[in-house]
């Protein structure tokens, strides 16, 4: 009875996973196909798999430029996120006047989706003179509320006696943060790196609005442009899609524990 049930569970899960993986297979198969991809019936296995499409991507569009822009923006976002979120998280472990108001502000900001702010956000960014700039692309993403709370929880988990001991030994506030709190919060830092990278790497609407200049556009925009003028040719579009997906999949598989913890701790702890 027990064994039969386990067997049925495996069957159901295998079916679900096959469904979840099917789109991955289909895009990968198309990316390595060199025959006419619109032929009917489509082949389930590529006849002679090859990697030409991946090479073509580099010639059809300024792929290195998009990649460079995406990397610069992601690096800015990840770097500032760690700094700003750790600082804010540390501040929230202290008691200060108006702390309740600040907490309430953070929590209510979580309910405002970024997409609901695009019109004024665009106007503000243009007033700041940051349209078509790396800094403008990164600015709205530079701090994340979820991650502030992840840092707050991590700092609160450090035993107070350790901090007190350091203070008695004469360490200043800055050195306590750099030498004791941050080294003990590696998990929070990893969480923040992963989340900030995924969010900035995947961002589409914001770059779409504020970058008109093709030399400042990031990979998602490049992909969308590629789609609009090269749709009916080869598997190159799908090779491009695969190349863009690989970093996120890689980061996720490397750090899925941190990624999931970040998302769920933001979700349940607020």
């Amino acid at each position: 009875m027990q064994r039969r049930q386990t067997f049925l569970r495996h069957c159901a899960l295998l079916g679900i996973c096959a469904g979840m993986l099917l789109p991955f297979y289909w895009v990968l198969k198309t990316a390595v196909t060199n025959e006419n991809i619109y032929a009917y019936p489509p082949r389930l296995l590529p006849a002679s798999p090859h990697l030409f499409n991946f090479v073509d991507v580099w010639y059809f569009i300024p792929f290195p430029r998009y990649l460079l822009n995406s990397l610069i923006v992601s690096a800015l976002v990840v770097g500032c996120n760690i700094g700003f979120n750790a600082m804010a998280g540390y501040a929230l472990t202290k008691s200060f006047p108006a702390k309740r108001a600040v907490l309430l502000l953070f929590l209510s900001c979580m309910l405002i989706p970024f997409q609901a702010t695009i019109i004024p956000a665009y106007l503000i960014t243009s007033k700041l003179g940051l349209l078509n700039s790396y800094f403008g692309l990164a600015l709205p993403l530079l701090s994340t509320i979820v991650c502030i709370f992840v840092f707050k929880a991590a700092f609160e988990a450090v035993p107070q006696s350790l901090v007190d001991a350091a203070r008695i030994d004469g360490l200043g506030e800055w050195r306590i943060i750099l030498r004791i709190l941050l080294p003990l919060s590696k998990a929070a830092i990893a969480t923040n790196v992963v989340l900030a990278f995924i969010w900035s790497w995947n961002a589409f609407l914001w770059p779409l609005i504020i970058t008109r200049d093709p030399t400042m556009q990031t990979l998602p925009l490049g992909l969308a442009r590629f789609l609009s003028y090269l749709e009916d040719t080869t598997g190159a579009l799908y090779a491009f899609a695969v190349m863009v997906l690989v970093p996120s999949i890689f980061v996720f598989l490397m750090a899925q524990k941190e990624f999931i913890r970040g998302l769920t701790s933001g979700a349940t702890k607020g």
Binding site: T6, H10, A12, L13, I16, C17, M20, L22, P23, F24, W26, V27, I37, Y38, Y40, P41, P42, G83, M87, L92, K94, F96, V102, L105, L107, C109, L111, I112, P113, F114, Q115, A116, T117, I118, I119, P120, A121, Y122, I124, L139, L142, S143, I198, N202, F204, P220, L223, A224, L227, Y238, L245, I249, V251, F252, F259, L263, T264, A267, T268, G270
Partner: protein, 313 residues
């Protein structure tokens, strides 16, 4: 030596503490400043500005004129696209309970000690962190009339005789986009529900088994009530997704055919950045924001009125 130190402490007295406290407060303020600036610039200020803009006639090169509720009047009475977009947005949100139910099923399957559960979990979750633009391109291709695997499978199995142009047809486009959206977000729902499942104390089930309660009764009386906060959270995320699904709709159909897959967010984008009607787009944004708040309150009410309090626990 010890004596000297005590005197020293006494001499520093309250003035020393005062200075230390002031320094600490200054540090707190400096540390909060960058994040608060960003949230002020890109959350709080835009919300207020949206309200203001929606009450004005304004475009980038013209001075602002007071419009009162004109934009809202135009939207609610004359704008058919608005109603279409609202309907589609509600359908989009209305599909999320089904996705959550599916995720609950999967979460129950992978919960507990099953060999390979971690692998199943990763596979189901894998689609969530992916770039939505790429996901949209993949699904466009899956739905393609000739090269797409969905039409191929349906034709080969004899369910349909002629290929369906899913994303170009008025009746199929919206459900097709929703399926792609569910595919991407399913794993996230599953993870939230799993976290909820793991926080249920096992002794509740032990007690119920001793009392001879059957499995489904345990599910109805223990699992579901204990999962209420997680399920509420999933519903809120489902509501928020109607905002965040811009990327997917933009890539897969761009709101078409006609306005069959137009969501409020894509309509906001088109009004604002396609036709430079920033004022009207701001009014649309306010409508969607009100809708979001109302639905969240409604979900909170259905969940028993206290589910939202988990944030303040």
């Amino acid at each position: 030596m010890a004596r000297a130190k005590t005197d020293d402490f006494a001499a520093r007295g309250s003035g020393w503490w005062q200075r230390r406290r002031t320094r600490e407060l200054a540090l707190v303020a400096c540390f909060l400043l960058p994040s608060l600036t960003i949230f002020f610039l890109y959350r709080v200020l835009p919300l207020g500005w949206n309200v203001l803009l929606s009450l004005q006639y304004w475009s980038p090169l013209k001075p602002a004129r007071w419009a009162g509720l004109d934009h809202y009047e135009e939207m609610l009475i004359y704008d058919e696209v608005f109603w279409q977009a609202l309907k589609n947005t509600l359908i989009f949100i209305g599909a999320s309970p089904f996705a959550i139910a599916l995720a609950l099923g999967i979460a129950l399957l992978v919960n507990g000690n099953l060999k390979g559960a971690a692998v199943y979990r990763s596979i189901v979750f894998l689609s969530y962190p992916l770039m939505t633009v790429a996901v949209g391109i993949i699904w466009r291709w899956m739905y393609d009339e000739r090269g797409g695997i969905i039409n191929f499978a349906l034709r080969e199995s004899g369910i349909i005789a002629k290929p369906i142009p899913f994303l170009q047809s008025f009746e199929w486009a919206l459900p097709s986009v929703i399926v792609a959206e569910v595919w991407q977000v399913l794993g996230f729902y599953m993870i939230i529900i799993l976290t909820g499942l793991q926080s249920i104390p096992p002794h509740l089930y032990e007690a119920a088994s001793i009392d001879g309660a059957p499995r489904w009764a345990q599910f109805m009386r223990i699992t579901l009530p204990m999962l209420k906060p997680s399920l509420f959270l999933c519903v809120v995320i489902g509501i928020l997704n109607s905002f965040t699904s811009f990327d997917l709709v933009y890539i897969m159909t761009n709101g078409g055919p006609g306005h069959a897959t137009e969501l409020l967010i894509t309509y906001i984008y088109k009004s604002g950045f396609g036709q430079t009607k920033f004022d009207y787009a701001a009014a649309l944004t306010i409508m969607q924001f009100i809708l979001l708040l109302l639905l969240t309150l409604l979900a909170n009410f259905i969940a028993g009125g206290n589910a939202g309090s988990l944030e303040h626990r």
